[in-house]
């Protein structure tokens, strides 16, 4: 039996406001190697992103030097005679505008449908169906763009063309729906519809993930106050998931901006800034690269690298923003 419970040292030797001790884990040599290797490997994504930007800049530098800001704003893309650089002129203004036009059309069409689908999956369909449909959603998200392209080219084109004609017939007075000549195939409208179909799965799955985290106790409170299912969605789920939906839509936007093959197959590439979305005139940076790559000489290739760099930076920016926005909702979950 101890004779003294309080140790001699306790009352005075320890100050009332002690300095916190730092607990440092000492790793053994094998763990040091392990942590080093893993950390190095994990930096690959950073390294790859930096290398992409670096190499494209390195290859395209000459173009930026020769054309300056005009490379972004000019709409002329002319490889010249392929020998004398002075005969060439490169600008991706029309393609940038075309990228944005098609992607925005896709976004405007896809977002409401993605929102509806996400709500349906989360709040309306029975749970056995939900498990099945979630797998289907993942599967259609993995359908390659070339198949969307083939489908758009061979199946959807006729519908899209006739819809375009119908819209022009009834709403042609509206500047966006005006066309200079009655040619409605391969238009930004059709490309936008195909892109919309491609981005619906992405936006839906992000929105669904966020909606499923909506606070259950608050939805219960809405029901307890005599609210309907829609009241719960309208007052709790949608406000809670707003930034998630925005983030998901922006992820879709990023994908639509950078899409190559599907756009290449269903859009008529013309170097002209065009906001008449039903006309058979459009383009996008990625399909420009695919289109010109095969026959490009050395100088034009550099211009394509420069175009690739611009596309890379634009999509990276959109994706950074989207990831940050989605992350903000994720962060608020308790």
């Amino acid at each position: 039996m101890p004779t003294q419970l309080v140790s001699d040292a306790s009352p005075d030797t320890f100050p009332d406001n002690p300095v916190g001790r730092v607990i440092a884990t000492e790793y053994g040599p094998s763990d040091k190697v392990f942590r080093g290797v893993i950390t190095g490997g994990a930096m690959m994504s950073l390294v790859i992103l930096a290398l992409i930007a670096g190499f494209l800049l390195f290859r395209g530098l000459e173009i930026f030097r020769d054309f300056g800001f005009g490379f972004i704003t000019s709409v002329r893309w002319d490889a010249g005679d392929g020998i004398d650089k002075a005969t060439a002129s490169f600008g991706i203004g029309a393609m940038l505008v075309g990228s944005v036009v098609t992607a925005v059309i896709a976004l405007l069409i896809a977002t409401p449908f993605a929102m509806g689908t996400a709500l349906f999956l989360e709040f309306y369909c029975p749970s056995w169906l939900r498990i099945f449909l979630t797998s289907v959603l993942d599967l259609v998200a993995a359908i390659p763009s070339v198949i969307y392209g083939v489908w758009g080219y061979a199946i959807f084109m006729q519908y899209g063309t006739s819809w375009g004609r119908a819209i022009n017939e009834h709403l042609g007075w509206f500047p966006l729906f005006h066309v200079p000549s009655p040619n409605f195939g391969r238009s930004p409208f059709i490309a936008g519809m195909v892109l919309a179909l491609m981005i619906v799965p992405i936006t839906t799955s992000v929105a669904r993930a966020v909606y499923s985290q909506a606070p259950r106790d608050q939805i219960d409170a809405v029901y307890a106050l005599g609210g309907s299912r829609w009241s719960g969605i309208r007052h709790i789920v949608l406000p809670f998931g707003r930034s998630g939906l925005i983030g998901g839509a922006m992820l879709g936007l990023g994908r639509a901006l950078g899409e190559t093959v599907a756009v290449y197959l269903v859009l008529n590439l013309v170097f002209r800034i065009n906001f008449q979305i039903l006309a058979s005139v459009g383009g996008n940076v990625a399909s420009l690269i695919a289109n010109r790559f095969g026959e490009a000489g050395e100088y034009e290739l550099k211009a394509l690298m420069a175009a690739g760099l611009v596309l890379f930076l634009v999509t990276l920016l959109v994706n950074f923003a989207a990831t940050a926005i989605v992350g903000r909702t994720r962060g608020t979950e308790s």
């Binding site: 608050q218 219960d220 409170a221 809405v222 307890a224 106050l225 005599g226 609210g227 009241s231 007052h235």
Partner: protein, 281 residues
């Protein structure tokens, strides 16, 4: 005479037990359940509960956790059915009508039977005033004088003095106890006849708990309150009647229901006596 009947078919006890809380005070009952059972999937969680809730009184539902008190409470305003696998049997009468009859509107019922939850859950996107008015807004009920309604509800919930100068602040800026009283005010705004409270103080500190208990006491003069609580002292303080639930490795069931003072001083069942004296649970 109003009789309350509980039965147990377990091997231990085969004689149905009778408890008659209202036999001493003749009172009409606002709500009554008859032979209520509840299931989650195949799991039978509540067995044959028949209970009456006398008007303008507080009935406490007590018992160890997992004995089906909360499930029973959620059956009273049809919140039970939001759990996908849930099922039930039996009848719940409000004003002589079964709330589970075919064609009964659950949303309208919930306007008459309000609910306060375990965790304070004011709507974060709404101000204090909007929170109080959420019920009328959601049910698209016209309110003649919003200001009066807000003041009346907040006063009855015992929160008016503290928030009258900042009705436009967000509900989340209040303390936990204040948030819970805001939730009570929100439930009062649709003028329910019955108020269900599912362990309303379990997430609060002792001071806030005391305030809420005072509120419950004042409210019980004009409405019927059913409160689930883990805390026996609280049940003894706030309730007029007590119903003791127990699961005993099977579905939860009602052991005994009576006046609170009887339950705590002279219960007829030994298990009730053991529980209220803290011997288990």
């Amino acid at each position: 005479m109003i009789t309350m009947l509980t039965n147990n078919t377990s091997a231990v006890e085969t004689t149905p037990q009778q408890a008659s809380p209202a036999s001493e005070v003749e009172q009409t009952s606002a709500m009554e359940t008859r032979g209520i059972h509840a299931w989650f999937g195949k799991n039978h969680v509540l067995r044959n509960v028949s209970l009456q809730f006398p008007s303008n009184s507080v009935t406490g539902l007590i018992g160890p956790s997992g004995c089906g008190k909360s499930t029973f409470l959620r059956l009273l305003n049809r919140m039970h059915e939001f759990i996908p696998t849930a099922a039930m049997a039996g009848e719940v009468f409000l004003d002589g009508q079964d709330i589970y009859r075919p064609g009964a509107a659950a949303a309208e019922l919930r306007l008459r039977v309000g609910m306060v939850f375990q965790k304070p859950n004011p709507f974060p996107s709404m101000t204090i005033q909007q929170n109080v008015l959420a019920g009328p807004t959601l049910s698209k009920t016209k309110v003649a004088n919003k200001k009066d309604l807000v003041e009346d509800c907040l006063t009855r919930a015992g929160l008016w003095k503290e928030v009258k100068d900042r009705l436009d602040a967000y509900g989340s800026s209040l303390s936990g106890g204040q948030q819970q009283r805001l939730c009570i005010a929100r439930a009062l705004a649709v003028r329910p006849d019955v108020l269900l409270m599912d362990e309303p103080c379990s997430a609060l500190d002792p001071g806030s708990t005391l305030r809420i208990e005072e509120t419950i006491h004042e409210l019980s003069e004009s409405m019927t309150i059913v409160i689930v609580t883990h805390n026996m002292q609280q049940a003894a303080r706030v309730s007029d009647y007590c119903a003791f639930f127990l699961s005993e490795d099977g579905p939860g069931h009602l052991v005994e229901a009576d006046l609170t003072k009887v339950i705590f001083s002279n219960p007829s069942d030994q298990r009730t006596a053991d529980y209220v004296q803290g011997r288990f649970g």
